[in-house]
Amino acid sequence: MKWPSSKLGYTAAGMTVVAAMLVPFLLMGLFAKGFTKLGLHVDEMYSGGPTARTIQADGYTITIHKAVYPHLLQTEKPFVQLDWKPVNALPQHVSDAVDVDGDGQPDVRVSFDVPKDPKMPLRVDVDALKPRYQAMRKVGRQKFSELIVRVDDTILVRVPLIER
């Protein structure tokens, strides 16, 4: 009765030692690859949501993301992210009327200065041209749902939405 279970135990232990040897060469990479294939994505509150469309401006582009809505008890407001890129093609002062929902009418006017020093803090003013969008005055980066930040070669502005 004891013999087969004992043999199984030692076999499993031996396989565990072999598995340990395979971790850096096979298992770790295999599991990591499997993880990437699960189809998971980082929460849009961080990533900003998928791209909806891109507008070509004067030497630079404005990428408009799909609106992001908070989950369950998330304390942030719904928002839409707009990306200005590349930073070195932007004028010293940007003031763009942006058609966010693609209906041919501008929805918000976004204004900010582009300092030469990338470490300088940014401030954004947003005028809401439609009631769906929330105006912002001299906003920095206090919340994920209302901010302006520079990420590498892009300036991101998140405009909060009034209602869902």
């Binding site: 004891k2 040897m21 961080y46």
Partner: protein
């Protein structure tokens, strides 16, 4: 395998001869040198030296485990080195890359928050229900701040867990070493009476943090309770809430990682708080290795219970001849038992029959992981110091 019986006590083995200990160390020596090759072949002199020193360190410790048949005290040297050198290397890295231990919001948006293993259990429910990872990092294996994306850490964690189960907390966790070092400092514990119900706290924290993470869609433990934020990184305080969060990290670190281990000689953060440790306990059920108490030779002196750094032995469990689910296979109880009743064991085999074989097989697997993962962290930490000093 050596199963020499010492003084009539079933599970206690006598010290080995030098030659036999060397022979048993040989596989790990080769493995450690192989793991060190990447650093040794680098042009950076400090990395070469650090790699060589780390390999030698891992080999000597394993040799001493083989020579003395004692596990815990030698493993502790590795674990403390890991716990001390990880923050040095990590803080140095973040200071060089971003000039602050605080993660600015743009780094989170860019998905460059380094991902450690602690939030893994918190991510499972949101991921299962909405396919969303509630962590501001990168999924890609080479994403994140220093190439440590979530996939890389998840892959590493799964692989190591497959091999050592809850042994992760003794051979791979790069946080526990600080408190283990603190717990080793005093000769005797000042606080000896600890309510055994406290050991349920990590489960309560795990449940609360899993539910909170699902409700708030954020890694709640990282945001509010992780003591190791104090020695790694934290969300840069943008408002009063951020200041409160950072205050909590410092207080928890001081209390659970510094003061209480000094007073109790226990790993108090692991025992009373860590939700990852509680989660990892589940994998004790899947691991082929465990620790048993041989009831035929045990005269309940409870030295094993006293020596356990995570209170993973209770009166009831000793009566049943086993450890609790939270046992992290550090070997403290086996080393402490004067009668050799606490023994390493392979599931399916008879208790106290060839326990040294079980110990050897476990240590080969666990030390291979330690040399691979912990060894690389120790190397980086040493190299960082050498770069500064030399």
């Amino acid at each position: 395998m050596a199963d020499a019986v010492c003084a009539g006590f079933a599970g206690k083995t006598s010290p080995r001869t030098w030659s036999r200990a060397l022979l048993l160390t040989l596989p790990i020596a080769l493995w450690s040198l192989f793991m060190a090759m990447r650093g040794l072949l680098q042009p950076d002199r400090s990395l070469q030296v650090a790699s060589g020193v780390t390999a030698a360190f891992m080999i000597v410790l394993f040799f001493m485990m083989m020579k003395t048949s004692s596990t815990y005290r030698w493993r502790r040297w590795f674990f403390v080195a890991l716990g001390v050198l990880f923050p040095i290397e990590f803080i140095h890295n973040v200071m060089v890359l971003r000039g602050s231990m605080g993660i600015p919001i743009e780094e989170m948006i860019a998905g460059r928050t380094p991902f450690c293993f602690l939030p893994i259990p918190l991510l499972i429910l949101p991921a299962a229900l909405t396919r969303t990872l509630v962590f501001p990092g990168s999924i890609l294996p080479r994403g994140g701040m220093s190439g440590g994306g979530m996939a890389a850490m998840a892959g590493l964690w799964l692989a190591v867990t497959l091999v050592v189960g809850k042994g992760w907390c003794s051979y791979a966790c790069f946080f526990g070493g600080i408190e283990e070092g603190m717990a080793a400092l005093p000769k005797k514990a000042k606080w000896k009476k600890l309510d055994p119900r406290y050991r349920l706290l990590p489960w309560a924290v795990l449940l609360a943090m899993v539910l909170l993470s699902l409700a708030l869609f954020e890694p709640a433990y990282c945001m509010w309770l992780c003591p190791f934020k104090a020695v790694s990184e934290y969300v840069a305080a943008r408002n009063t809430v951020g200041l409160v969060q950072n205050g909590i990290f410092v207080v928890l670190f001081a209390a659970l990682v510094i003061v209480l281990p000094l007073l109790t000689k226990k790993r108090t953060q692991c025992t009373f708080l860590c939700p990852f440790g509680a989660f990892q306990s589940i994998f004790n059920k899947t691991s082929v290795f465990d620790i048993k108490i041989d009831r035929t030779v045990c005269s309940p002196c409870v030295l094993c219970q006293k020596s356990c750094p995570t209170m993973s032995l209770s009166d009831e469990s000793i009566k049943k001849g086993e450890t609790l689910m939270s046992c992290m296979k550090c070997g403290a109880c086996v080393d402490a038992c004067p009668k050799g009743a606490a023994v390493w064991h392979i599931r399916g085999t008879q208790v106290a029959v060839k326990p040294e074989r079980a110990r050897l097989m476990f240590l080969y697997a666990a030390w291979a992981m330690a040399a691979m993962f912990g060894g690389s962290i120790i190397t980086q930490g040493l190299a960082t110091i050498l770069q500064r000093v030399i």
